[in-house]
Subunit: 115 residues, 2 copies
DNA sequence: GTCGCTGTCAACCGGTTGGTTGAATAAAGT
DNA sequence: ACTTTATTCAACCAACCGGTTGACAGCGAC
């Protein structure tokens, strides 16, 4: 198992099926059958995908009768967003300007991203 | 091979070694030997990691004499950042306020993230 | 209770990944 | 020319991943 939280999240998103499931869940919680409907794959396969997303902390699952609805975990993506933010200067020109300003008025922050 | 660009990027980042390499490259370009130095693994293994990062479009590689320095590809992470941005409302309370405002003054954008 | 629906579990399979080692390539130094 | 330095290639290996199938468990309805 990937014990590293960030690795688990990135790995979970490195699959189009799982990203599609997340996208679907932005519309609200859904059962395994609902989520499986667009895909040409077995229910068991979708169930496995949901387990990966759950272990990565990206979704949570409930229990209603025989249904196990999945829903987005609101904070699930925050850690990745924060990791990415450290690199914003490398693609976002508006960040460059802010960065230059901050470096001008105070000592620059030499801290690199933690892994 | 993962032909899907976003999948390749997420998969490339789902490894602490590769994230550490990226972090190191924010300090400037580096040779394979430089990059391998912190790790208890062979040069060939690091070379493979660099190939994964290169195929994902996260780094580029040069050629100076017998060195093949790696450097960050500035736009490499942009696509992921844009993908993540669609989910910002789910963790960022300040986005909630903006979102509420936008929904108030105009029809909400029902477009989900593309995978 | 038993039927039907929903979902998970376990075993299996082929392909990929992350590492190793040893040989090969390429350029620079002597 | 030979040696050293930097890096890659090829073959191999164990572990993991994404899928399958078949059995089974939970719950509601009849």
């Amino acid at each position: 198992m990937l014990t590293d939280d960030l690795s688990a999240k990135f790995a979970a998103l490195a699959d189009p099926t799982r990203r599609a499931i997340l996208a679907r869940l932005t519309e609200g919680e859904a059962s395994v059958n609902d989520l499986a409907q667009p895909f040409d794959m077995s229910l068991a396969a979708v169930s496995k995908h949901l387990k990966v997303l759950e272990n990565a902390g990206l979704i949570t699952r409930g229990k209603e009768a025989q249904w196990r609805p999945a829903r987005l975990e609101p904070m699930g993506l925050k850690g990745m967003a924060e990791w990415l933010e450290h690199y914003r200067r490398y693609w976002d020109s508006s960040f460059d300007r802010l960065d230059a300003y901050l470096n001008k008025i105070q000592k620059g922050d030499p801290r690199g991203p933690r892994n």
